[in-house]
Symmetry: D2
């Protein structure tokens, strides 16, 4: 099978590097274009970028010439790791020029005709793509987004509960890793021996995004009716490298036993896994029974960083159930999530 | 004024050392006895103990001979930093022998006739002391306890809310410091780059203790009717040295504005401060308005470790209000709390 | 090819777990016996052990029954991760019973007839094995040891310098990872925001072991004449999980240019790699040219944890050259080193 | 006594804040001017600065209006916390305008007519001040500098050794705190679980500065003849907040016993302490005998951050002696050092 040519927008940043690492040796995709800011354009990637991941940058990629973030890239689809302010305009320009844009940026997530997608949660929302193309007059170009790194783990855990028991209210506290702030990100004097109980813009995303992700397509198929779930988040930065831990209390419509809740988590099915998407894992939700798991350093890489680990499922003294979850913020919560979105679209014949 | 002679039970441990540091140069108290396990008894303190606080052990204390934890200590009251399993029996034995026991242990906290005391919250619960002495036939001996380190900050913050608006339901997530586990406590391989979402026995205490602390004396004055507040805690260990951070969502009976909530925090009055207790501070509750405060490393020592710092007071999407609080776990949450309890009893003529 | 059956002594500890992880799916070895203290014997491994590595314990291993550390194990060779005090006796007993013992313990390292082995450095020292067997009357049993975790990186770096230019004096400061102290090891209150400038017994090993490793077999082949190198170490514990960083100043007999030193590092040849040993890597010594590399978190896994990364090769203002090196203390410096020793012996027909 | 009016150049940065904290309630000095970059000039200090120290900014200072870094400040002397590139020009301009400049910047440290001063080490170097004033035509203005944060602890420890035994060669490895890089400084992703074996420009300073500090005034009194000591440093950044730890091996001309070395450290006399300088402490050098001290978190505040703690004094296998030392980098190694310099000049009648 011939691999699909892909480009990366914002290739020199932290998420851009993670895209490169995950796409190297990918069975379906081949990196054929790297794009970044004007400052980097024209340089070989190895000069444009200070590589920060543990494994070295693949030599073939290191020699590629960085291009500007605009149409003209030699590829079919682009993964966007652009910062918020740039993403809105550039992504639309690329889509208008016929590129499929798989975006990790927040700019378009809440646009009514743009799918905010987790393949295991709401694959049917991809039906917005033709609507979007028609409305915006985009030919074969499109924009599909993945959720914020703190949203994705929560939403994956809520999905089987919502389907089986109906989720009504959620109170969630996050303990988020330093890599979520990018590089240079959080100064070490702010992280050592410290908790910062605030991450700008994060709580707003956690309130809105799960409602769209768990929502249903409107009757006319042209937008998503958000799920009627009230979510109250409190977001904190703690001193961990990768992996967002979240404590979650949930009020449900129907009142299951704890065993039934665990059952629901364990039987959660993954459409992308069934379709053979290379980045999908099984199980998507790992339920641990030890009282002190998941732990950030021990469980964040579960399922190659694409699984969500759930622990301490127990009754809540105020709502119905509570538990703790952990997901990898730069894999499942960023680059890996966008790649899985692209894989689902390939598997469903929408790309390639 | 002649200082009151005090002893310390469990003097060699982490909390015992903190008692020594806080009692050195105390205007009302004088350390005249140190007691610890059989293994330490008979040794000079400096040999019995590996001192772990930053400031050096006071030389006079270092030369004192450690005694066994039993009656015969040359003092009027004892501060107890005994581990749970030993505390029940030894504290009762000391009280029966006529010592006032100010305990930091959990053993007797929920006994109906034992005050669980925060001087700014429930000073009237000291009326249980004569009941206790009568029932148990203890003469002038008694046991008064302070709450768990994760409870005290939460309860101090809830108190003015409960008085003004009525607290109905609380969901709280803690991010607790390593020193809460004592020494050696948490292995470094479990703390570096990690969050552990579990602390044994902690959530049980957070469910029960605030209800007793915020409760009212029964009509017959012989026990406490717990406040009817449902509390759902999720306790986590993070990589900080001192200072417990807590995110709190609260449902109230009456519905105040955010300004009224802040007002209630700021007008919270401290009886022990009015009475001139040396460890009391004003304000007890510090409300910060910066979006990213309190922070563990910057705010834990506020009010010499006896204040509680509150931040991010805002509406809750699910309940009525939410906020974050920070309190020093080994000062306000342990040794300092027990000393303040003793100071209140002195100020009210119950000791000395 | 039929795999060689191996056992692990001290299988439940930190190094024992690392042995299991590295031996799982090993092409030449198959774990057929696990042994640990009396307390664990008789239990399934999953019950006897609190597994602490990131990747889960292999299910087949988890179900194996732990046996006592004594002859009777169903295997040909044993890897020993026994603590110092037990290792001396048990390893001798096993060797006497005909087992090949590949030890990571320090007990026998300096015995005149026991090879202290790094396959890339002194493979000829294996000629001590028949001497040892003859002297001790051990039949086919033997003991071969690997060096201390802080020694191995230093010695690998010194080897090509000693061969090419003659090493005379070395001053070395280590910044060692927490995992070197095992589990529970260093308390978190001693590691957070701290450096401890002392590791018991470590400096003594760094003074002696490289001299034996770089020494030559005596004319009669019955012992090793230590290299005449004076080494002054200063060992420190810093707050990193894995990876020992070392700054090294070296006085040489001959005076090479910096380019010649780098050349010597880069041309260092690995006999075990040439012989196809599965754990050997090429290059063994990685020389980085960036001014700020190696870094612990970025480079410790280089060469699957079996390479040593060297950086900042430059003139020394006092001696001739100085540089910094990093090696993985629980892979190259412990379990991986002992496995590579065994692989070399297989490749040379001394095992299997 | 009327207090001397002082200004702070670079008042909004990390060292500037430390100057403010140490000068608040200073018995001899009174802050009357704050200066910073054009961007901050005209604003109240509380708006110009993000205060990062634990104790809050003194309210009186918070309301002062920040001025530009140029003559016209209402004060007699200025403490300079300017960054390297700005310091050279501005400090000269201020001195030319008649201000005494006590600088923490590196710009003028190696100028032949500028004292590089540690009051306990080389107070006689202040005799360069009139030379400097005459040569540069500066009236009563002058520049006096303090050494780099990694130099000061080393030089204080070497001084009594050099006086008593003659220091010939030194090999030193530093483990330096994050605050040495200022704010935002080191990104948390570069510090967590990491050692960076490189600090730009640091080793050059450690090679040169101690030679000037331990040097002697030339016969004509117009410059300093550097001490003939060879120093080889290796500088590392580790994950600690404050406090530079250094391992030191020293070759001496005369060969003392370890007891004599410790004696020399303990009898080290402090001229500024004798003269009653408020920031001077006694002893300046604290020798600890426990094998595992000093430790960064436990000893950095010794002597209010102005003492140097020395431990593990022992024979060196290569040179004569070795030891470890710890000094507080932002107090003794920056603001506190410059203030002590000013105090010495006051005590000697050169200021005020």
């Amino acid at each position: 099978m011939k691999r699909i040519r892909v480009g990366i927008l914002g290739a020199t940043g932290a998420v851009g590097q993670r895209f490169i690492a995950l796409l190297t040796d990918h069975p379906w995709f081949e990196i054929t274009a790297l794009a970044a800011s004007e400052r980097s354009a024209g340089l070989p990637y190895r000069e444009a970028c200070t590589w920060r991941l543990t494994a070295d940058c693949p030599p073939a990629v290191a020699e590629m010439i960085v291009q500007p973030c605009q149409p003209g890239l030699d590829c079919e689809i682009v993964f966007s790791a652009l910062p918020g302010e740039m993403a809105r305009e550039v992504e639309e320009e690329m889509a208008a020029a016929g590129y499929g844009v798989l975006s990790n940026a927040s700019a378009h997530r809440m646009d009514p005709d743009v799918p905010l997608l987790i393949p295991e949660v709401n694959p049917d929302h991809l039906r917005l793509v033709p609507i979007q193309q028609r409305r915006r007059g985009w030919g074969k170009g499109f924009i599909v987004t993945d959720p914020n790194c703190s949203t994705v783990g929560l939403t994956l855990a809520l999905k089987p509960l919502h389907d089986a028991f109906g989720v009504r209210r959620v109170i969630v506290t996050t303990m988020q890793a330093l890599s979520g702030a990018g590089y240079p990100g959080v100064p070490s004097l702010d992280s050592l021996d410290n908790v910062i109980p605030y991450i700008r813009g994060e709580e707003e995303k956690m309130i809105q995004e799960p409602r769209k992700l768990l929502g249903t397509l409107a009757a006319d198929g042209e937008s998503v009716l958000p799920a009627e779930i009230a979510i109250s988040p409190a977001c904190n930065r703690v001193s961990t490298r990768d992996g967002h831990m979240e404590t979650v209390s949930v009020e449900l419509v129907h009142k299951p036993s704890i065993a039934e809740v665990i059952e629901a988590f364990r039987h959660f099915e993954s459409l992308p896994y069934k379709l053979g998407c290379p980045s999908a894992v099984e199980p998507t939700l790992i339920v641990r029974e030890e009282p002190d798991r998941p732990q950030t350093v021990r469980d964040r890489d579960a399922g190659r960083g694409m699984a969500v680990t759930i622990g301490r499922v127990r009754p809540c003294e105020v709502f119905d159930i509570k538990f703790v979850l952990l997901s990898h913020n730069t894999i499942r919560g960023a680059a890996g999530g966008a790649i899985l979105n692209a894989e689902l679209m390939v598997a469903q014949g929408m790309i390639g």
